[in-house]
Amino acid sequence: MDETPSEQSGARPVLRLTGVCRHYGGLRAVSDVSFEVASGERRAVIGPNGAGKTTLFKMISREEPTTKGRVEFLGRDITRMPAYRVAKLGLSRTYQITRVFPALSVLENVVLATQGLRPGRYQMFKAAMSNKALVEDSERAVEQVGLQRVTKTPAAELGHGEQRQLELGIALAQKPRLLLLDEPAAGLSAVERGMMRDLVKDLPDDMTLLLIEHDMELALGLADYVTCLHNGSQVAQGNPEEIKNNERVQDIYLGRGD
């Protein structure tokens, strides 16, 4: 626990959650979650279905309001900030259920992401695809996720595995400071899972990662630090070894929990 936070960057944590809650009427989807993610850290959020992992992500990316508590990103309070502003501060995410732009080509999908953080994104008189810097940067992101052979293919025509790669490519094109990965390997075959793991492992060291994963092996293999949620509450934190040996976590995963 001691080796985690802010020493190595010498600065404030990239992400700080303080007593974050999300209530739907009487249902407490997330209650009182607090943790810090240091710069360059790779943290996994694990927990069974309905633990509140995705809701937590949505509160961080500001797609969902926070009922109570405080979310800070790079030292700024983003609890009430609109999602598009948070994105501009350097936060990107992927989704458990693929959300690409089906009728647009792979390259256009990524250009849309690259362009989203640049000042000319609402500009109306020059062709988007003739902006050299924009297209080249986007091509690099396409290559990074291994889709360079299908740049002109519409996203709808890609296989599921390729769509997952594109989903990641869209997020990476934004060169985020903090990347939220919501089950990057969802629905992938064993082979594709291995590839996705390598993709995530190879991400630059200064990119901070927060990842949701069901597959314990994959999650514990990728993360240096793990937070376990159960019924919306934080039940355990620690490095992968500690989590593996944590009795509470074992109870939850083996169904002995409440």
Binding site: F101, L104, A156
Partner: protein
Amino acid sequence: MNTLRLVKWASLAAVVGLTVALPYLVSSFYVNMATQMLFFGLFALSINLIAGYGGMVTLGQAGVLGIAGYGLGIFYTSYAVPLGVSALLAIISTILVAAFFGLLLVRASGVYFLMITLAQGMVVWGVAQRLTTLTGGDNGLRGIARPPFAVEYWSYYYFSLAVVAFCVFLIARIVRSPFGLSLKGVREAETRMAPLGYDVKRIKLFAFTISGTFAGVAGLLLAMYNNFFSPPSVYVKASAEGLLMSILGGVGTITGAFVGSGVFVFVTNYVSGYMERWPTLLGLIFVLTILFTPDGVVGAWQRLVWAPLLRRYGAADEAELIEVGVGGGGLLSDRDLKGSKSAIEAGSAAPSEEPSEQVEETRAGS
């Protein structure tokens, strides 16, 4: 590929040539039909801009068009403002009203968007009917003049052609621009846009206002063409006709709007002279289009003629883009279905070599 490009340019040149030479080839009846086709096409294109490219279907666009038509009529006939200045004031009023309508629309999407636009259109129509001191009520506004240099049927045709061509040029640039791409992004996956850094409300407001401005230009041309403007031009029927024109031609395409308005104007002006039940024919055309080619006449042309040609000449990528309906679809296509089907097919097929190689490596490594 080069042959294809040649064919494309040659047919484009033929169309442009015919368009320019039209008044020398046919009688005034047909030239007037072509004029109507131009401004109704611009109106359909303005709907297409938000419905086809942005996925926001409107049933109130005639109301926006009406602001310009009535604006021109009121400034010019009631207040005797010079025609050019009246037109300018009318367009400014249209932009302001479209922006105001847009502000009420930015939170809505899908059928809610449609309902609000319907209500807005009805408000304009209601005001046009009831505020008789300003709008003349059912009698409409008479005495709207054409520009002095475009009074004759042929000169008004050229005037409309120039105005519409300029608008098409602007729209063609807009849909290819970064803004146009983000508009398509809203159509394809609205909820994905904000986390990518886009202010979706702003995109919608801009799109609605720009589209309304072009509808306003069409309204000016319509009012000057008839020398008259009255409530039926702003009624929901007019809005629906504009939407149907753009669907008939092909949503999300520029040519589609004009093909749609062409069919529409032809049936209402020409066929109606020979056939009492021409509205039935029009209805039949729409139903058959939706049944057999939901992406419209232009969509059918691209899929059935153009894509196979591209494929034969080795541009399979472009062909595929057409077949999935880039620029088409969005509104009525079965694209989602196609997408999931191909995903299933791809999933059942053997995984490609690349991922397996990487797994070999990691296995060897561990």
